[in-house]
Symmetry: D2
Subunit: 141 residues, 4 copies
């Protein structure tokens, strides 16, 4: 099973707390936005990551990459564009773009997640999640 | 039992991540420093807040106050000065000062903590912690 | 001139990045939400805090207080309720409530802000802002 | 000019504010630690990043990558190990390891930085910084 064509778009805004002394979004803030993106991706599909975790399978980040293009300024509205680009037996990959309202790309990146149980052992992605992601695949955004 | 005369002093530095577009420490960063202050206060007394929590009694913050005096700039070294100023049956109060290396006061404030069990019910402060804090009282810093 | 009756309500959500090991929103996260609240308060009145700063008068926080009532959990939707409760010659005070979707109060608090110029000298609140806030007073929310 | 053999080691601790509901360091916290690592790397060489910026050349992050190995827990002491692994005409690359006191690797990663002036235009790395980095090369850590 490869990734899906489904795309989630979520609006956020660069807050004072997110900005560094250069007047631009701190480079770590983008990982917060990526987290929001994948959470809202799953919510729109009909599941909450909180419930996923409570069912016993966690999906911690094993790799993260960000390419910074155009700095986002304080109070800029941004759009977090999220795609699920890989689903394997025991891992997922999400791809992200942080886009300004004018359509310009602020940053892009991806995260890889392993499926683990509460003891940290690698497990298979849950059947419920696989089924949900298949639906996503069938309904391109 | 009133507070103690024991004082903990802990060195930190204002990081890029802590600073806002004005070039000064973000007002929320001070609560992070207060947290570091009380953790190091307890560590110097001989206990770890992590162990305290694992013993079953948590001390969530019920009130926090900060008075901002002089802005701290990016890369400034700061000293977090922490005192335990009140110990009641089921609550604690810590007082803090954030001081520059030149001795100037950046901010002062306090936090109040309730003793609760894992279900959130208010309980008495643990005997171990009371004994520890009595020692602090007997050895002014 | 006293405060206004105007009320801003803004929806946010507790993010993974906001939550502490107890599973609840970190106590510092509330100051971030207060910042969002006053920014959106001004935006709904028709001004952007970014433009206010660019006009040369800054409004740094001089005092902040939070009273924590009921912990907010990861992924909980929250409402930031913001009121402007005091307008003096050279200072402002905002009051905040963080409310769950069920109407229960998670926390309340306030911030005081001084009007200063770029050199940090206390100045009068700008006429534009005073006029704007008078309008807020005349149109209770 | 390739990278240097100089290594900076800096001690930090996982704070409550850094930790997520799983009880482990939030994945974004590592970018904060990387920032601390490169700042302390430069400080030990004899320059402050604050002074570098004030001289007119900024070094914003253009790419960041993190590989997460073993989760770091609340209150764990960690060591940030920083190397400068590439120096080009207009860019730098730092490599990092986050290591536990027992020597186990929590995470590794790297950041790439472009040299830009205050208007955002790409410029050459300043002569002062190049000379400083040459010294680092000559004195392996």
């Amino acid at each position: 099973m490869s990734g899906t064509e489904y795309v989630n778009r979520f609006r956020e805004r660069v807050r004072y707390a997110d900005v560094d002394p250069m007047g631009f979004a701190y480079y770590g803030s983008y990982l917060r936005w990526f987290e929001i993106g994948r959470t809202e991706f799953l919510r729109e599909l009909g599941t909450r990551y909180r419930d996923v975790e409570e069912s016993g399978v966690l999906y911690p980040v094993t790799e993260a990459y960000v390419k910074y293009a155009l700095p986002a300024r304080y109070d800029d509205p941004i759009e977090i564009v999220t795609r699920l680009t890989r689903v394997k037996k025991a891992s997922l990959r999400f791809d992200y773009q942080i886009v300004g309202v004018d359509g310009r790309l602020h940053a892009s990146g991806w995260t890889v997640h392993a499926a683990v149980d509460r003891t940290g052992r690698v497990v298979r992605i849950s059947v419920e999640l696989v089924n949900l992601l298949k639906c996503a695949n069938a309904s391109p955004g």
